[in-house]
Every structure is written in C-alpha cells, then in structure tokens.
Amino acid sequence: MAGKTLYDKLWDDHVVKQRDDGSALIYIDRHLLHEVTSPQAFEGLRLANRKPWRLDANLATPDHNVPTTDRARGVDGIVDPVSRIQVETLDSNCDEFGILEFKIKDQRQGIVHVIGPEQGATLPGMTIVCGDSHTSTHGAFGTLAHGIGTSEVEHVLATQCLVQQKMKNMLVKVDGKLAPGITGKDVVLAIIGRIGTAGGTGCAIEFGGEAIRDLSMEARMTICNMAIEAGARVGMVAVDDKTIDYVRGRPFSPKGEQWDQAVAHWRTLHSDHDAVFDKVVELDAADIKPQVTWGTSPEMVVGVDGTVPDPDREEDPIKREGIVRALKYMGLKPNMPISEIRLDRIFIGSCTNSRIEDLREAAAVVKGKKVSTTLKQAMVVPGSGLVKAQAEQEGLDKIFIEAGLEWRDPGCSMCLAMNADKLGQGEHCASTSNRNFEGRQGFGGRTHLVSPAMAAAAAIAGHFTDVTQLTR
C-alpha cells in the first residue's frame, strides 16, 4: 500500500465519524472568528438555545472593519455606523458566550490570519477553520486549514465539527534555488500564473521542493495564503525545524514535557516518500522573476521585465475576451512594458504580506530614499499590534516615515476597503494583498499584486521596477 500524504494524515487524525454517503464528520481543533461572518452564527446559537461546544477552541478579533488611524478611541473611532455595529456585535457576542477576543484596543489585535500563528494558536497537526477564505494561510504549519461560511461557523461553534468530503491530493513542487530578492509572493504568483485560478479546484495543495523548504515561515504563510487564489481551499507545507522553531515559546504553544510529546508527533507531519498524489505540478525556482499582476485576476501575472499581453495573440476566444475586458478595466494598452504602468498608491499590508519579515524587506528597499512625488499615497499597515511593536522596536517605522510612507495601525485596511482606506476610481495601486478583482480596493480601483519589496521599490520609483536589480 502506498504511503500517506500530509493531507491524508491530517484528515485521518480528525475523522470523528465516517458516514455512509461518503461524507465525514471532521473535528475542528481551532476556530478563528472575526466580525463580518460571525454575527448571524452567534444569533443562530442563541435562537436554538445552544452553547459553544468547546470555548477554548475559539479565538476572535475584529480586523476587516477597523480603522488604521486614531485607534485610541477604540470602537468609537469607527466612523461608518454599519462597520461599528459589526465590531460591537463581535465584542458583545464574545463577552456573552465567553470566547477569548483580542479587542480593538488590545495590542494582540490584528488580522486573524496573522495573530493565529503569532500566538501559537496555530499549531502543527491542527484542523483550523475561520469564516474567511484565506484561512489556508495556516497550512504553512502543517495544518489542515480552510475557510467556511456563516452557517458552518455556527456548526463549528455548536458541534466542534464540520461535515466534509475529502479533497484530492495535489503537489506543487518548486525545485532548485530562488534568485536573490525573489520572495514567497513571487513564488505563489508564478504558481498561480502557471496553473490558473482554477488549477487547484477540489484539491488540497501541498507545496514542496527545495525552494519551499528554503523559505522562512512567513514566506510559506504567504504562499499558503494564496492557495485559495489557485482554486484550492487548502494549502500546506510539511513540518520541519523552521516550523518547530517558529512555534516554540508562543502563548498557546505547549511547554515542558508536553512540548517534547508534541514535537515528536509534529515530526511525522510530512508526506511519506511513497505517497501518491492525484496531481503534480513542478516549477523550476531559478525561472521565477519578481511578479506583477496586470489584470483583474491573480492568474493575470507576468515578470516585472515583461509586457502587458496582446489579446490578438491569444488563440482561445474565451481567454482573449477576458484579456480585452481586463485591459479595459485596468486602463492598459497591449504590449505595454510593465515598468511603464504609472502608479497612484502603494499598499503594504494584508494577511498575505504584513508580517515582520515583509516589513523588514520593504524597509530595506526604502531606507534612506524618498517616495516618488508622483504618488498620492504610500501606506504600510502591519498585520497585528505585536508586529507593529516589533517593527517599531527595530526602527522600521522611522525608516518608512522618513521615506514618506504612512505608518498605520493593524487591520485588513485597503486589502478590501471595508474601512476608510480605499482606492479612488481609475487609480493604480501596487498592493501586497491577494486579490486584484474589479472594485476590490475601492470602486473602479486598479490593483497590481506584488511582493513587499517590489511595492517598496515601486514607491520610490513611482512605477514598477525590478527590485532584484536595485539590490545588486
């Protein structure tokens, strides 16, 4: 019999009951909550007169609607009444049911996918869910993690389980060495460019190969974060020393004898050498250049030295139509060099790229330089209060501010523009977030997805430029 994949192992560990119809009841170890997708779930519990199954499995924080300035006023500082009500509702629900919440004024508050790993609430071998599709982020720790809907949020709260069908196993292998200056963001954008936004549909993707093993935990999180943009609800990386080192000593992490016991188990969390995958995709790390998206889907991506595609050269009529539509929305001309796209704003943040390593990479690029005067705005939004504190301790805030970037308070911010941070109509933004959909960052806004270093280089130049050439 063939060995097991990492996904098989995680799945098998969590099957509470296999049902006759092929579905299974899967136990959920960690449930993360935020203000947008939880209110009706809590309301459902109340109506049915139910209690959460296990309180200590849950951890909540507001992130989508929080302002990134004037945080001293707490919830009162949220100007939009609908946003404020959502945040207040999360607070009162957590208080009522006894769920641990890092509230808006708590230094531990942040984007839910940043704080899980930061707190050690994300541990290898866990099943982790959240009413948010980017829950795949946590798979970087060898967990089975994915997003769920509001009715499932209620289901998990009430039963600690989900009814699931097993997915297919897919391996994305990135072999060889990345060139200096190439980041996790470039790797995952290159993968999506290769397999497309439906390439991982129905699959749990394991990211493997030398290039992935060489990456830091932060970079692995960036890659797993965007598994959903490749169509896969789940992205994963096998556990190794880096994983274990990252987890050590965090507030929720095991201590003492329990630690040793846990580590012994975590060391088994990798695919067996004879495991069989339903689908395998291989990339050569050496081929990966800094990536920039030009269109309105993450798969519409090229190297920074490339050009905007020409629809006339696309044979597939559906794709051609897609290119034409995207170019129109983005206000770009076929065959235009990527470096000639004029930018209006820079956004460094989001659950994809707002961790300390991301901020260090961006700071290294802007240090001692000035943001281009052609830009309207360049902002840095750390992923959590603790990331912010760490960055300030390292003096990164001063580097950003001296270069002319705004240094904000933690939250989702301009990733989806649910708070006050938005693009204006027709504005181009170099963004370290994960979705370049029409209107995502503001009505009529034009998003180009890049790494933090590329966003920083673009902030200085006012247009896209190859960051690997700068650092040389």
Partner: protein, 215 residues
C-alpha cells in the same frame, strides 16, 4: 431548531399569487447583522402606506387597512394561507426569517418556489402543499368565519378544519424527521454528540497540547 409535531393556529388568508421574497421582506432591511427582528417589516410595502426604512418605529407608521394582516380578526395568525408560487425570487433566508419572526409556523399554498421551500425547513417553518381546490375551500371558510383555525399534524401529515374535515399532504421523510425532532444540520451532527465527545476525550489524552489556553 424548533421542533414541530402538531400545530394549531389562527389562519390569515393572503389572496395573491407569486408573492416574492422582496415582497416578503424588502431589500433595505437586509443590512442587519441578525436573523431576528424582521417581523415588523414582513410584507412591508403591502402592510404600510409609507416607504419603510431600517431602524424605524413601525408602530407609528400609517398602516394599510386593506392588507389582510392589518385586519383585527387575523391578529396573532400563525398559519398563512397563500396562493400559487409563494416565495419566488432570491435565495436569501431573510424571507423565512421574517415570516418566522412575525409568528408564522405553517404556510399552506398550492405551490412554493424551490429554494424558499427548502429554506423554510431550515428555519423551523412548515410549508404545506395542498391542491388548488382545497385551498379555495379553506380560503372561503377562513374568510367566512372569524377566528378560523387549522390544526396541522406533521406525524400524520394532515390538515384538519374546525368542522373535522381532514386533508392529507406529502412531505419528504428526511425533512419531516428533522422538523419533528427539531433537527437542523447542527442537530443531526449533535445526534453524534457522544461520538464527538469520545473522540475529544481521546485527543485530550493523546494530544493534550491541542487544548491549551494562552499562558
């Protein structure tokens, strides 16, 4: 979910076909973070003479005296007698939430829109399909006699009039089982509560670190 084995209640006859979900609850009321509280805005545009806004005190609004639910004789109705294709339109659950919040438990019609029909069961409401001519008969009786009530027996799958006339109806076994026992998806999962509990107990032994709270 609320269980229902039998239900007896006052009947409100709503003589109108193709009642859609926007009519049931207009879109300006969907911004709410709740599933409850939609009752005062149920059938808002039919019920009131002004244009409804969220967070309004509905008790001060001018009511449409002709609308069936505004007639004193139908106050407190919990059985809605309706016409063909009730609940057509969107898939949003706000429609059953609003009917439920108002106090309806049973809706009788010759036909329902699919999604709405489904959504009713998820929210503890019982939609009953009765032939058009039986419906006509019930409409007539309900309009003629004040305080008219119908008795529904889900176990026996019957609707019974005050004079003892009884009509059978069809309902899918699984849905019936769920409603009889007050089971929703969550309820079904909780039937395996002991299996979940023993899984959890075992994990507490073999992987205790999964149950830590922050130090």
């Amino acid at each position: 979910m609320r269980a229902m084995k039998t239900h007896k209640g006052r009947v409100a006859p709503m003589d109108r076909s193709n009642v859609d979900t926007d009519m049931i609850i207009p879109k300006q009321f969907l911004k709410s973070i709740k599933r409850t509280g939609f009752g005062p805005n149920l059938f808002d545009e039919l019920r009131y003479l002004d244009e409804g806004q969220p967070d309004q005190d509905c008790s001060k609004r001018p009511i449409n005296p002709d609308f069936v639910l505004n007639q004193p004789r139908y106050a407190g109705a919990s059985v809605l007698l309706a016409r063909r294709n009730f609940g057509c339109g969107s898939s949003r659950e706000h429609a059953p939430w609003a009917l439920d919040d108002y106090g309806f438990r049973v809706i009788i019609a010759p036909s329902f829109a699919d999604i709405f029909y489904n959504n009713c069961f998820k929210n503890g409401l019982l939609p009953i399909v009765l032939e058009e001519d039986i419906g006509d008969h019930l409409f007539k009786e309900a309009e003629e006699s004040e305080g008219y009530e119908l008795a529904v027996d889900l176990e026996a799958k019957t609707v019974t009039t005050p004079s003892g006339e009884s009509f059978g109806f069809e309902v899918d076994d699984f849905r019936r089982h769920c409603l009889l026992n007050g089971l929703d998806d969550i309820g079904v999962t909780l039937e395996d509560g002991d299996v979940i509990q023993s899984y959890e107990d075992r994990r507490r032994q073999t992987a205790p670190w999964l149950f830590n709270s922050p130090a």
